[in-house]
């Protein structure tokens, strides 16, 4: 069982990202689950979304998880909230920030000693898609850190997932995914 927790603000696309990732993984024969905590979430409110991936049907519906990966797609949340909650020793963090990993860990001591990767998904999304929607670049970074799939396979799959969007937007997302894949450290 692979478990992922997303930290996001409502409106940044964490749910869409989690569902998109689940969709891609499902095509490879694995079982998936993607869900979120909403509450009465208003745009901009901090929220979390989740993925589970397994070789057999996923029956567990508890919200609690000790994630293998934590994705933080809003830079401030790494500082203002505890993204390390329910940490286990092997948990890996991929965090959107303009800071270097060293600077980030200095700014947020909770991350000290943890396996932290950083990438500026907000900047990448602004440059490519033209809006600060950092979900797809985060998935590009995840492909690099996890080695889950070849990046070309992943991009082809995301092309299908995003197919209902205008072609220009889809193309921009592909560039964003590739850039995050290349730039994550």
């Amino acid at each position: 069982m692979l478990e992922i927790r997303w930290h996001s603000r409502a409106g940044q696309g964490a749910v869409t990202g989690a569902k998109g990732l689940a969709d891609v993984i499902s095509t490879t024969g694995k079982h998936v689950q993607a869900f979120a905590f909403y509450g009465s979430a208003k745009r901009g409110a901090a929220m979390t979304a989740y993925n589970r991936v397994a070789d057999k049907v996923i029956l567990n519906h508890e919200k609690y998880m000790k994630p293998d990966y934590v994705f933080v797609i809003d830079p401030a949340l790494a500082i203002t909230t505890d993204v390390t909650i329910n940490h286990k020793d092997t948990t890996k963090y991929i965090i959107t920030t303009h800071l270097t990993t060293e600077e980030l860990v200095k700014a947020q001591p909770l991350l000290e000693g943890k396996e932290v990767y950083t990438v500026d998904c907000i900047q990448i999304a602004n440059d490519t898609i033209g809006r600060p929607i950092p979900n797809t670049p985060m998935l590009g970074a995840f492909m690099r850190v996890s080695d889950m799939y070849e990046i070309d396979f992943f991009k082809d799959s995301m092309n299908r997932v995003l197919a209902k969007l205008p072609q220009k937007i889809v193309d921009a997302n592909m560039i964003a995914i590739q850039r995050a894949y290349d730039e994550v450290k």
């Binding site: 749910v15 989690a18 569902k19 689940a22 969709d23 499902s26 095509t27 079982h31 998936v32 689950q33 993607a34 869900f35 979120a36 909403y38 509450g39 009465s40 996923i58 029956l59 567990n60 519906h61 508890e62 919200k63 609690y64």
Partner: protein
């Protein structure tokens, strides 16, 4: 006017809401009369989008309240169409008056309830308060534990409800957010397979049949009211359970997926059992498998059909169990939980010496963790070992503050 068919992959990653909306499309519902409410909104929104994209030939009626939504469904069903809608929580509460009308008029309407807590305090998350609110309204009630089941049970519900020997409205429950907003793999049927399973709608006593005028919604005082209600109950107790079994069997032939009114998991040789509904059934199944590996004889029963209540099937499934926990996800308001009461009733005049204890859990979306469930089985084991219920008969799981126990 022709409509387009949709190509689906064998497995689509859908949440429970989208799965239900797709089922409404594939069944080619004629009229959806709806008023949106979280977390059920995407079901009727989905149908509306399919309609505007020409994937379904039907009418979407926007109304001013849930009371009007169900009233619109009643009118459309009486006129002679395939009808469905969706709601949750407060919306269902406002709809309740018309639910009794629909059942009393024996109109085959399909209602998706995405289960959510009832205010106050206001809460959009999942519990079964709304399911319990309308449990005696005369509707058939199914319960889905996953998006796959929300999809399948919609088709099964149309098949049962529209049968001319049944003609009763049916509810499909699914857990708010835990099913409705959780995307998982859903094995699909093709549009043709799905539609052929439910078949073309066959009207009965429809008001648009001007050759055979009928009256719906009449007044009957003490001279006939009781006979109408008694006949409906009779059909719920005698005809409808068999029709549900038949629809489950037909659906298995089509899809390979087998449903039962009482879903037993690892129950054959179990000493301890939990009875529950919704997504909790699946989480408990996972815990059962883990405890079985440690040699514990545990099982779980999921209630697939809430109404008509599968009285004898529950008694049969529990007859050799030593200790059982009834899990109710609704505030009981000064009584034992519904499942506790129904199970007690099922077992009362039998030879069972089962030790029954009731638990209230998960109100307003409070998490039911695997740890909670392991603790629960440990408590049941202690009861079984002692030969008596060592705790009070009603306890709470996962609530903060001093331990609560009653009865």
């Amino acid at each position: 006017m022709a409509f387009d068919k949709m190509e689906l992959r064998d497995i689509e990653v859908w949440d429970g809401n989208h799965a239900a909306a797709q089922a409404l499309r594939q069944c080619q519902v004629d009229v959806v009369s709806a008023y949106p409410i979280t977390p059920s909104t995407p079901i009727v929104e989905g149908y509306a989008k399919f309609k505007s994209d020409n994937y379904v030939e039907g009418e979407f009626v926007m109304v001013e309240s849930e009371h009007a939504a169900m009233s619109g469904c009643i009118g459309a069903a009486a006129a002679g169409g395939r009808v469905a809608t969706a709601t949750s929580s407060q919306g269902l509460a406002l709809m309740v008056e018309t639910l009794y009308q629909a059942a009393g008029m024996r109109l085959p309407i399909i209602l998706n309830i995405v289960n959510r807590a009832l205010a106050a305090p206001l809460n959009v998350n999942g519990d079964h308060s709304d399911m319990y609110l309308c449990r005696d309204s005369g509707w058939i009630q199914f319960d889905a534990f996953s998006p796959q089941e929300a999809y399948d049970l919609n088709m099964i519900a149309f098949k049962v409800s529209e049968d001319h020997d049944v003609r009763m409205p049916a509810i499909i429950n699914q857990d708010g957010f835990l099913t409705s907003h959780t995307a998982q793999g859903v094995h699909t049927l093709t549009d043709d397979e799905a539609f052929n399973f439910v078949g073309t709608f066959k009207p009965m006593n429809d008001m648009l049949d001007f050759e055979h005028p009928v009256t719906h919604g009449v007044q009957t005082e003490e001279d006939w009211h009781f006979e109408h209600k008694a006949r409906q109950h009779n059909d719920m107790m005698t005809i409808i359970p068999n029709k549900i079994d038949q629809a489950f069997a037909d659906f298995e032939t089509l899809s390979g997926r087998k449903y039962n009114k009482v879903e037993c998991y690892d129950m054959e040789d179990a000493d301890l059992a939990i009875v529950c509904m919704g997504t909790s059934v699946e989480t408990v199944r996972e815990v059962v498998s883990e405890l079985r590996e440690k040699g514990l004889k545990v099982g779980v029963i999921g209630l697939r059909v809430v109404r008509p209540f599968p009285f004898f099937e529950i008694a049969e499934a529990l007859k050799n169990i030593k200790a059982v926990a009834a899990l109710d996800r609704s505030a009981p308001g000064g009584a034992a939980g519904m499942l506790f009461n129904e199970i007690a009733g099922s077992l009362y005049n039998t030879d069972s010496k089962m030790l029954l204890s009731g638990y209230i859990y998960g109100l307003g979306g409070r998490d039911l963790t695997k740890t909670n469930i392991v603790d629960l089985y440990n408590e049941l084991q202690a009861n079984a070992d002692a030969g008596k219920v060592l705790t009070k008969q009603q306890q709470f799981i996962g609530v903060r503050g001093p331990k609560l126990a009653y009865l």
